[in-house]
Point group: C2
Chain length 282, copies 2
């Protein structure tokens, strides 16, 4: 099945192959916008309320105005209806400042794409990661709001450059660490480790995006007898952990099997973690 | 005179009010692109070769493919012809990765806008600036190429957030400093100070954009008997300098008259520095 992708705006479904944005939209001129990406599960947006809430948080951090929730709900309902029955669909909510600096007329739309086979494969095959210095001290999160640490903006050039660097160095993805060695996040996912029956992930206060999939994993894991903690840890802890995963809305939980060229042993139950991260309840 | 702005693509002049970019252009989804902005002076792009060279450097840093120089020259010639006789025109060269991850089909175009009266006014009135921590250690420039320090990408959300923060705190613009107190650059310009007959600006090796206008200022100043040096300096040096300026292709040289709420005395000849920065030779 080949799915060409879908575009929904306030006007409903429009031809995605046609231009939508002006050349001087501040979303493109300055990466001035925010976004969310999530799965469509059983015809519904997965964890929509959480994603909308995080989008609103990013908008506050960047001084952007969003369309009202009803506009998103309507566009997303149209999108979900259109792809009903198709497997592995993901949905992006995009908002840019538009052409007017004031932000009074934001551009916004919904894109639907099929999750790539490569990403799906990683859920079972796992990934090789390299650690890369993110350069920003976690204590700047509160003190330097202009650095937008923890906002999900369209200014993703560094995230993309980190992933390109990883691919050019025999890896699939990157894990950012702070100058002091604290583990932060991956360019498009959160990092989780297991130590016995405890799951750990760095707290958002270190300047990272609060992960919605991590939230679901931790809730489900708590119910299944795991202890879960948002707690700082360092690079060495990745090597000594019982398991390391990257989790995100699209990849769910992918196990890190190799870090900086060294194999990581995973004695933790990967299948259980994967199931607890996902939207699928048997 | 009201100028509505101009858009030139490979097809020539097109209606700027019409959409040009697809909703899934990676320039908007990820701020994945590079740009330059320059003045049009006497019907010609000011310092075009230098801007093209810097665009190429940014493209290498971000793994982007550019259209050939002839394509730029042709589009820019059309743009300059169209606005011949109009004053204070600026031109932007924009390239995005396009919709194809490979970058084989980049989106690119030229925008012409009038320099805003506010920016023009700052050339004579000067500006109030606040210093903001940029968070990145200069030594990361070489060691962490994935941070894209010194690349001019479309991922400008932090630059814009810094300027918004400045405006919300009774200032016109920001000056970034490194965690160790070294002065770096402003979100859209370089920083220059005078000490006697010496002009100093931080070297690009601290992780900042090589400034084309600074290059012109230094060449012209050398010819006029100034000593010029690319050399690190710290926050305190701004307060004790004989003059502090922000220089960029559009603002040319704007004097910083207030820093972090304190008045800066300028005993250096501002008019001379402004003239040496500019394209206008009497």
């Amino acid at each position: 099945m080949e799915f060409a992708g879908l575009l929904v705006t306030a006007s409903g479904i429009v031809d995605r192959a046609q231009p939508l944005l002006r050349a001087d939209d501040l979303g493109v001129l300055r990466g001035d916008g925010v976004f969310e990406r999530l799965l469509i599960v059983d015809g519904e947006p997965d964890l929509f309320d959480e994603h909308l809430q995080r989008l609103e948080r990013s908008a506050v951090m960047t001084g952007l105005r969003l369309p009202p929730p009803e506009s998103w709900r309507k566009a997303i309902a149209i999108a979900c209806d259109e792809v009903r029955g198709l497997e592995n669909m993901s949905l992006r909510m995009i908002v840019t400042r538009g052409v007017d600096e004031s932000g009074d007329e934001p551009s916004w739309y919904v894109l639907v794409d099929q999750v790539s086979p490569a990403v799906l494969a990683k859920r079972t095959e796992g990934i090789a990661a390299v650690t890369l210095d993110r350069g920003l001290d976690p204590e700047l999160t509160e003190r330097a709001p202009w650095l937008l640490m923890g906002a999900k903006t369209l200014s993703y050039a560094v995230n993309m450059a980190a992933q390109r660097w990883a691919r050019e160095h025999d890896a699939d993805d990157a894990i950012f660490v702070a100058p002091d060695g604290q583990v932060l996040e991956a360019p498009t996912s959160a990092v989780v480790i297991a130590r016995g029956r405890t799951l750990l992930s760095p707290p958002p206060s270190v300047g990272i995006l609060p992960s919605i999939t991590l939230g679901r994993l931790f809730r489900a894991a708590s119910g299944a007898g795991w202890e879960t903690r948002l707690e700082p840890f360092v690079l060495d802890d990745l090597h000594t952990a019982d398991g390391v995963w990257l989790v995100s809305s699209i990849r769910l939980a992918s196990r890190v099997h190799t870090l900086d060229g060294k194999a990581l042993t995973c004695v933790a139950p990967h299948d259980e973690i994967a199931a607890l991260s996902g939207p699928f309840r048997a």
